[in-house]
Symmetry: C2
Subunit: 385 residues, 2 copies
């Protein structure tokens, strides 16, 4: 079995399973805000996890706010910056290749609070046009409430120039919210040196428990509470802390720190795999092949076939992939991201996404290549539509 | 060891631990929104859990929205009802004994969106004055955006007349948001027959994983997304579903269904325990002793002593209690709830909260009684202040 949907959700890491096995049998369950020693032990555990995670992502512990996932983190950040924005700042600068959380959140601010959206141009690989962004900032920085552009695209794996974006935003004094969901735990990221003002992480993407996550804020005083409560997370995120989840986040991030030296190898294997498939099936096409992409992500299509047919064919060989984004966006049509990149329907409808991790090796990619080539050969003889 | 802080947070139930032991070693980890069969299996598991939980709490599965905790649920409901309220409905009716989530959330709506708060009168036991509520509704129902009054007080365990409140709200056509965090999993509750419009649950209060929860909505179309995303939870709660957490919620709720026949016994033991302590220490006082309270909750004080001293004394005998609410509210002063009930500082500062579950028996209460009596005898000879 090859589970090749790590961009959708990662299985629990072996180290996390090992940790949970012991944790479940312990007696240390208590409200971390209670004054008794059990509560205080749980609380200290959370703070220790915060230090471990801050160390891995390159920020200060008090810049980390634990929550339930990236979607909550982004919703929280947007509320903080937009619901409290001065009345002259009504412009949101973003891109047409963002995760669905962004347009979904922004529609509230557009419809109810009078904001307007400005999309930065992208090139054919889905990369942000930095000069277009600079023009927008130059012209309108006094009216811009925030810039929100992702670090890595979830469908294509394309790495956006987020450090250059951060520099521009800093230059023009605009807050930069960077959706780092697909980067953290899958690629090198350092919050401090990146220069971004806000970043997010979802635990289930990095092999921690589902329902866990955190946001990072360069200046946490810019945040306002969103999930209301008491003093938890310095008053920025109410609700009894998800301490078991937070502990698994720390285990997973520590594990990533250990494993990340294998990322260049993963990238090499991924590129060799892509080359092998293209050589065998010249009609196939790797999306954004000219762009720098996440080590283990391939979005590949075969014009005329249907992505779902390829996905089902692979599944019959115990290989699990998705068509474009896994996240509730499995429509039998070209995804919004690919449309924005100017990709034809013929190619766009045919894509599957293969996303692996540093736990995978040559054998996995060999099996993926031979099965994908076989699928293409079989299906291209039949034609899906 | 007696962990007597179930109102603060419950340890994982034995059935949940047993479930997790197997779950961790399984291979079924995937994004429930993916189209491959692993994702679909996870998705079907979530829907099965929704049915189990809906059955236990007496609602329809599509009235359940999974989230991360009660605090998120309440924040979500308030946003849905208040940010979208018609301009003439600017009044929030609530009580002075609510959990801190409510005043914390309402301060945003008061300060930023021009809402105003009307507190319903309470009696000396902390119970809502229904005739005062009816007067308010009669006078102002056209201006009221919502009524939010808890089902059970987290500090005192007092059960509010939430069914009567629901009836009044229905009569005057006002939405009733009921904070059921302390009731669900600790007392009988049926969403349909209760008549409340919105209710909430936190998993860690019922022995499921931390960071889990759900809200119930009589009419889910009144909800607007708060954690933004895609089609998850019918578009009402974004973010990849916390499926492992949701599974433990279903296990815990099923377990509660099995255990709830023991609630009357727990109540009997709790009342006998209180009587025993008062008989031995006539200066001690059970707060809200005349009110109907949660089966396993006792808030007890001894004027002149300090609650924290009693808590520490008990902890030296491996008994873990809190002073008033555990939830980040452990100030060395009378809690807001007790102040609202008109309780003197002398008594208010002395209280400790003992909260047990149906897993406890006579031996636990015997040990609690002898240790508490000994603590009172010892400390009252010294005097805390």
């Amino acid at each position: 079995m090859i589970y090749a949907d790590y961009n959708g959700s990662a299985p629990l890491l072996p180290a996390v399973r090992e940790y949970l096995r012991k944790r479940i049998d312990s007696d240390l369950f208590a409200n971390p805000n209670a004054i008794h020693s059990m509560g205080q032990k749980v609380f200290k555990g959370i703070e220790k996890c915060r230090e471990i995670i801050a160390d891995v992502v390159g920020c200060y512990p008090d810049q980390v706010v634990f929550n339930s996932c990236s979607s909550e983190g982004l919703s929280h950040i947007f509320h903080s910056l937009l619901s409290f924005a001065p009345s002259e700042k009504k412009m949101i600068v973003t891109s047409p290749v963002e995760h669905v959380v962004l347009p979904s959140a922004f529609s509230y601010f557009v419809e109810r609070l009078g904001f307007n959206i400005k999309n930065v141009l992208i090139d054919a690989e889905g990369r942000i046009d930095l000069s277009d962004l600079e023009n927008i900032l130059q012209k309108d920085s006094a009216r811009i409430a925030l810039v929100s552009i992702m670090a890595v695209n979830n469908e294509t794996g394309v790495i956006e120039p987020y450090e250059a974006i951060a520099k521009l935003c800093q230059q023009y004094g605009v807050d930069y919210v960077c959706d780092t969901t697909q980067l953290i735990g899958k690629g090198e990221f350092n919050f401090a040196t990146s220069g971004v003002d806000f970043a997010v992480c979802s635990g289930h993407k990095v092999g921690a428990l589902t329902g866990t996550g955190f946001l990072m804020a360069k200046d946490p005083t810019k945040l306002r509470p969103y999930v209301y409560g008491s003093y938890q997370e310095h008053g920025l995120r109410g609700g009894t802390q998800n301490y078991i989840g937070i502990e698994t986040l720390a285990v997973a991030m520590k594990e990533f720190e250990r494993e990340k030296s294998r990322l260049p190898d993963l990238k090499k294997m991924r590129l060799a795999f892509e080359e092998k498939v293209i050589r065998a099936c010249p009609n196939a096409k790797v999306i954004a092949s000219a762009a720098d992409r996440l080590a283990g992500t391939t979005l590949i299509g075969y014009p005329g076939l249907h992505g779902q047919a390829v996905q089902i064919e692979l599944e019959s060989h115990d290989i699990f992939v998705t068509t474009s984004a896994a996240c509730a966006d499995n429509q039998p049509e070209t995804s919004k991201v690919l449309k924005a990149m100017g990709i034809s329907d013929d190619l766009g409808r045919s894509v599957i996404r293969i996303s692996l991790s540093t736990s995978h090796g040559e054998r996995d990619y060999d099996s993926l290549a031979s099965n994908l080539i076989a699928a293409y050969n079989k299906l291209s003889r039949i034609h899906s539509y």
